[in-house]
């Protein structure tokens, strides 16, 4: 059981790491297109990444990390 818990924990940390990487990988989102309702990609991507992070953290909380 204990080993499984450790594995779950590691999986969650990995997920949070991907979130980090997404936020830090500037070359990926430093672009204007595609726009969303006239908003350049740079802005709407970072907006939506906030929501992704919030959901991931909430799931980690639910999983009693």
């Amino acid at each position: 059981m204990a080993e499984r818990r450790v594995a779950t924990k590691a999986a969650w940390y990995l997920g949070l790491l991907i979130i980090f990487a997404g936020a830090m990988w500037v070359p990926f989102y430093n672009r204007l297109e595609p726009r969303l309702f006239g908003v350049p990609f740079f802005y709407w991507f970072q907006f939506s990444w906030i929501i992704v992070t919030a959901i991931a953290t909430a799931l980690a909380y639910k999983a009693r990390l």
Partner: protein
């Protein structure tokens, strides 16, 4: 004088003043103990902690400075978004450990923890001094926020008379912080956050309607401002600056004493973890606030003669006030200004309490009066919180506000030097206590030197690596230096067999949900 805005402002300000004094009776406790006065009795549940931390971390200066940066420099100012986004997962993983160990051992400050963990009074003292040094200019900056909105309502007197509204506001704040302690900002934070949410939601709906929608706003911004400068022949452009600013600021945020105070006042580990999933709501608001900078730019307030004298005096910091005055009805602008001013009071109160806790616990009781009673300790903390606020006030009234801005910039570089002792200390005692002192010193000197090389006007340091320029946040560079020195010295001290000291904590202290009281 803008009477409509001013009336709304005064009514709201009077309301929170009453709340501030009333807070002393809320969840009544013995305010003559530092645990009650300085940490609200560690009794705040998820909801109050959410408002308190939100009110604490998203300061008035944030609301003025972030859109000002976006207004003046464009995309780089948006770094505040990845910054606040990185903070919460990081805190979620690391800081519940600090809460547990502090609860178990009755630690009030991070310096208390470091002193116990590494058995080093000196290291505790250095952590405390760093915290105080980083906090003082931060308090002064809150005053800059109030100054700008007071000016926007038409108080443009100069000299001491011009600063009178600011002085009155701050003295009131000092009085209720003295009597009510952390309960005052906790209660006021609820009003503050509701006002901020209301202002921002209305602003981001109404203003784009005037300006022809978001598409039109972005179309009005020059393309080179909309994106970060891409990497060129011998540099990474603004990419590394953007990413390191976000990452470094995220690492630094919860090392600030006022963040630790907010965190330790939570009633349970669960309340903190839950908050890390709920606090991103503020990140969304911050992202919207950043966009206000573009709205101000698109509305053309910078070219309007009626605002020119203010832009001359406050620079881009006047962008948001000008936008509100120009695009919103006067009474609503007053509500927005009240939100910003009250948004300055909450963090200023918590910061002064945090600085007072540090001074009292880690300098006064540790070095000056080891035999002092709990009552005397709380009394000293209250007095110091007054002193700190008067000092910040004098700083802003008598010195140019650029000094506060430059010092706050240095504060970020300084506070991150406490990371090895605090954050790594939560996991391991492998680093030697004296090595941590050496690392701290190296980081402080290197970081201050990098900021000085930029004439204290920017915290971005252009690191040259083999003819290639990597512009990055000086705090992160100096932290790397700190860590490197700490590791090397740890090997050295281990090699000569220098004594480690005794750990006052046990490994199970870090994971308990409702720890026993020591």
């Amino acid at each position: 004088m803008n009477w409509q805005a001013l009336s709304v402002f005064i009514v709201l300000f009077a309301f929170v003043t009453v709340l501030g004094f009333y807070a002393a009776r809320w969840r009544r406790g013995d305010l003559n103990s530092i645990d009650e006065w300085g940490l609200g009795g560690r009794r705040f549940g998820t909801v109050v902690t959410w408002f308190l931390l939100g009110g604490d971390l998203y300061t008035a200066y944030t609301f003025i400075a972030v859109p000002a940066l976006v207004f003046g420099r464009g995309a780089i100012g948006f770094f505040a978004v990845p910054y606040t986004l990185l903070v919460f997962p990081f805190v979620f993983i690391v800081f519940p450990r600090l809460w547990s160990v502090a609860r178990r051992h009755g630690y009030v400050t991070a310096a208390d923890f470091v002193r116990g963990r590494f058995d080093s009074r000196l290291l505790g003292l250095l952590i405390a001094i760093t915290g105080i040094l980083a906090t003082l200019p931060y308090i002064a900056l809150q005053l800059v926020g109030i100054q700008v909105v007071i000016a926007a309502m038409g108080f443009d007197g100069t000299g001491l008379v011009g600063d009178l509204p600011l002085i009155i506001a701050f003295l009131i704040l000092a009085a209720y912080t003295y009597t009510s302690g952390l309960r005052a900002p906790a209660m006021i934070a609820i009003v503050k956050d509701l006002l901020i949410y209301l202002t921002v939601i209305v602003a981001v709906i109404v203003i784009p309607m005037h300006l022809g929608g978001y598409g039109a706003i972005f179309d009005a911004i020059p393309t080179d401002k909309l994106l970060l400068a891409p990497p060129g022949g011998d540099s990474f452009g603004a990419y590394t600056a953007y990413a390191t600013l976000a990452f470094g600021s995220a690492l630094a945020l919860f090392l600030y004493p006022h963040s630790v105070t907010g965190l330790l006042s939570a009633s349970s580990r669960k309340a903190i973890k839950r908050n890390m999933a709920l606090l991103p709501a503020y990140s969304l608001v911050l992202a919207l606030i950043a966009l206000l900078g573009y709205m101000a730019f698109a509305s053309g307030v910078q070219h309007m003669p009626e605002y020119a004298p203010y832009f001359d005096r406050y620079g881009p910091n006047f962008a948001v006030p000008a936008l509100f005055l120009h695009e919103l009805p006067d009474w609503f602008a007053g509500l927005g200004f009240a939100a910003i001013a009250i948004g300055a009071l909450v963090p200023a109160a918590i910061m002064s309490i945090a600085a007072a806790n540090l001074f009292t616990r880690n300098i006064y009781r540790e070095y000056l009066r080891p035999d002092c009673s709990d009552r005397h300790e709380a009394g000293t903390a209250k007095f110091v919180s007054l002193l700190v606020k008067v000092g910040a006030l004098a700083f802003i009234v008598f010195l140019p506000s650029e000094y506060a801005i430059q010092l706050q910039l240095l504060g970020g570089i300084w506070i991150i030097q406490t990371l090895p002792a605090i954050v790594l200390g939560l996991y391991t005692r492998w680093l030697h206590r004296w090595a941590l002192v050496g690392g701290w010193l190296a980081g402080m000197v290197a970081g201050t030197g990098m900021a000085a090389a930029q004439h204290f006007s920017s915290s971005i340091y252009p690191l040259e690596v083999g003819g290639f320029t990597v512009a990055g946040y000086a705090a992160l560079y100096s932290l790397a230096m700190n860590l490197a020195v700490s590791v090397v010295l740890t090997f050295a001290f281990r090699f000569v067999g220098a004594h480690h000291g005794a750990d006052a904590t046990a490994s199970e202290d870090y994971d308990e949900d409702i720890p026993r009281l020591a």
